[in-house]
Amino acid sequence: MRYIEPHGHMVSRTTDDYQDMATAGCQVVCEPAFWAGFDRNSADGFYDYFSQLTEQEPKRAARYGIQHYSWICLNPKESENLDLAEEVLSIIPEFLAKPRVLGVGEIGLNKNSRNELKVLEKHVDLAAQHDQLILVHTPHLEDKLKGTRLILDLLRNDARIRPERVIIDHVEEHTVKLVLNRGFWAGMTLYPESKCTAARAIDILDLFGTDRIWMNSACDWGHSVPLAVPRTALEMKKRGYTRDIIDKMIYRNPIEFLSQCPKFKVPEE
């Protein structure tokens, strides 16, 4: 099996996780910037984190034969302090120019607040100005439906944004259709309790097909499973999916989306 982990917060994970992922066939991991579990107090804190993502983590991944890419942004949870957000937004372009940065992400909404929307709009503007791919985080649990609607409206109102260059992550049964019908890519996050289980993610494939969709573990500092993607691939096999379709889902689909960024290099066979 070969696969790409298109959304993993590897700074939170151990070297054992890298070892296990490499053993399971992981060739590439992509790491969106996210919330550390606490609010950072200064733009310097973000600068250091972005440096960790773009310089340190690729080296750590390379020791296991895994290519590492990242996405840069301020997390929606960190949007209420607009002054700090402005300061952080001003340092992002420096990182967008780095060789292993794929785009702006994971931006989006958390509690669907006015300030979160303002900061989202600024990120989308930044992505449009710098011709970047976009990775969007949709809110948790009861806030997901409303947040997904607000995000899709905002993106659709910006004529510069092409939906095929945007992935809307953490879709579930009640949001996947909204995303795919508007031409965006959809990401399914495989979590043990919230978001999608493997069985439900495969149900979504049964219902909506395997185009413009990927699966990720979003492994981070919370309850999550770094091997969720290959384990779901095994469950797809039990459900009668062919080797070719499984390979499309866990390898070729991520490549199709990510290759829209010229910096992304397809792993050597």
Partner: protein
């Protein structure tokens, strides 16, 4: 897949989850004090399972979701709790960290 294959693959897991749900409701009954909006939300979600319906998973998620469309004035630092408290009851929410 045939219905037999789906049963073979998932029946034991579904059985276990139904039992966990039943035991959770019994545990709630035995406990003391007041419940909050989450229990009513869960009962409403459970009602989506009964009868010969379609798209049950989607309907359960919709029944637990905030249906409003207007952004809130300010995110007060609270995480999501899994059920919508309703338009006037955010103060009743339990503050709880959520995942990323």
């Amino acid at each position: 897949m045939t219905r037999q294959q789906v049963l073979d693959l998932y029946f034991m897991e579904a059985r276990s989850k139904v039992l966990d749900l039943a035991a959770f409701l019994d545990r709630m009954d035995r406990a003391e004090g007041k419940e909050d909006f989450r229990l009513a939300a869960l009962r409403e979600a459970i009602s989506q399972l009964q009868g010969r319906r379609t798209r049950r998973a989607e309907k359960v998620l919709l029944s637990l979701s905030d249906p409003s469309v207007t952004p809130v004035d300010r995110a007060m630092g609270q995480g999501a709790c899994g059920a919508w408290a309703g338009p006037i009851a955010p103060a009743r929410r339990k503050k709880k960290p959520n995942s990323v």
